[in-house]
Amino acid sequence: MKEVINLPVKNIEEEEYHINMGPQHPSTHGVLRLVVSLQGEIVKSLKPHCGYIHRGIEKMCEKDTYPQIIHLTDRMDYLSAHINNHAVCLLVEKALEVEVPERVKYIRTIVDELNRIASHQLWWCSFGMDMGGLTCFFYGLRDREKILDIFEESFGSRLLHSYYTPGGLMMDIHPDFQKNVKVFIKYFRKKIKDYDDLLSGNVIMQLRTKGVGVISKEDAISFGMTGPTGRGSGFSCDVRKHHPYGVYEKVQFNEIVRTEGDTLARYLNRMDEMRESMNIIEQLIDNIPAGDYTAKMKAVIKLPAGEYFQRVESARGELGVYVVSDGNKTPFRMKFRTPSFSNLSTLDYVSRGCKIADLVAIGASMDYVIPDIDR
């Protein structure tokens, strides 16, 4: 095919006042650089520059065996590490047509949802902090600590667990796991009211977010905005509902969709998701069936040649894993479709015409994790 050569796009017009937000900036949640052209306080356009922590996970996967890949996926979206692990595990199990024990499915679902709550808690902290309410940050972290303690007791680490393995789990849950989770849910149901009192209902917060950064449903779908972000625009995209995995088919839960498409809708979606996750956990926690914690797997896992795709609902949206296998023990090509990556691509479109403060609020409501973008 013949190449059509476009003239190089002028990066930023000379006469515009442009500032670099990042790579070191408190509100970019990591090393993301946004070149923002301003007119006074108003954002005219914005160019994200990624890649400051690009580690080439996709390339590294090509030399790793499937069990080894698990620990790399932890490091993509480190706030929902379990869910990333789950995606790869499900993919390998699907390719090998392994049926994992029910117990594993239950535990994975519970742990995923706990991880989702923990991730949303951290999002709430940083959202509050980006809005200028620093106290939110400490409340969110205080409650997240409870989940991390449960994780640490059961899986040995607080952030990067590598707990799932293809075919099952690394080890069985701790005997106190169920009890602690129930204690936590009781605790957190009380504390989430504080969240609402402190931030959700606050008039300043409402003013800052209502009608800010609106994106329509069509655009949200076209941009591939998923997760609570996409569902804030009315895009029903919950993978747990549409392509169920784990034991999501067996539990009753609502897909939280709002149609306003603004920052407040995205905010409230996440708040509701925390409650919904607690509902899911409550339905499952007492019913974990007894059984083995791992299916029988071969020592060396080789995927049959072909291509596989697995979608899971990460805390930020739809996480897709695409693998092309040539029958070896390492993947031929591994591609992660990460939710933050797609969500970031909308930032320019959404934030045009907003103020700098709105840009920060929109960025916070998108909840992107930079290693998830850069991979």
Partner: protein
């Protein structure tokens, strides 16, 4: 639309499309020149309505370079996988689909960055992750990494 009907429909639109064996999705290899037209039809024709491009990946198949499109219709709930290939490793070029699915803008930049596949009519085709001065395309199979950072 179920898989069989979808298959007929796609083959009706692009007779040259070749079916690829895939357990999960209905997969076609589309001639590169037809891809943009097909994409337009896929999105805007009411019985197809593939409005959601949930993944776009570049794959180096050693002999060829591929771009894989994973499409879903959020209204009709059906999925489709499309591939375009080129044997030209020196200057691989496809048409962009970022005017149809806006998410493709970043995905195509990523593919250009790591696979070296260029896209016609892309509004801002620059490297996304790596420096502008970076030599080579790391995800290609023939990429030589002098420092050997992956194995280190």
């Amino acid at each position: 639309m179920d898989t069989a009907a979808l298959k007929e429909r796609i083959l009706g639109l692009v007779p040259e499309a070749t079916l690829v064996e895939n357990k999960q999705f209905l997969t076609f290899v589309i001639p590169a020149a037809k891809m943009h037209d097909l994409a337009l039809k896929l999105k805007y024709e009411a019985d197809l309505a593939f409005d959601y491009l949930f993944c776009q990946s570049g794959v180096d198949m050693v002999k060829t370079l591929q771009v894989v499109y994973h499409l879903e219709s959020t209204t009709l709930i059906h999925q489709l996988e499309l591939k375009v290939e080129t044997a030209d490793r020196e200057n691989p070029v496809f048409d962009t689909v970022c005017d149809i699915w806006m998410t493709a803008e970043f995905h195509e930049r990523e593919i250009f960055d790591l696979m070296g596949i260029r896209f016609n009519n892309h509004p801002d085709l620059r490297r996304l992750f790596l420096d502008e001065e970076w030599k080579g395309y790391p995800l290609r199979k023939d990429y030589v990494d002098e420092v050997n950072i992956v194995e280190l």
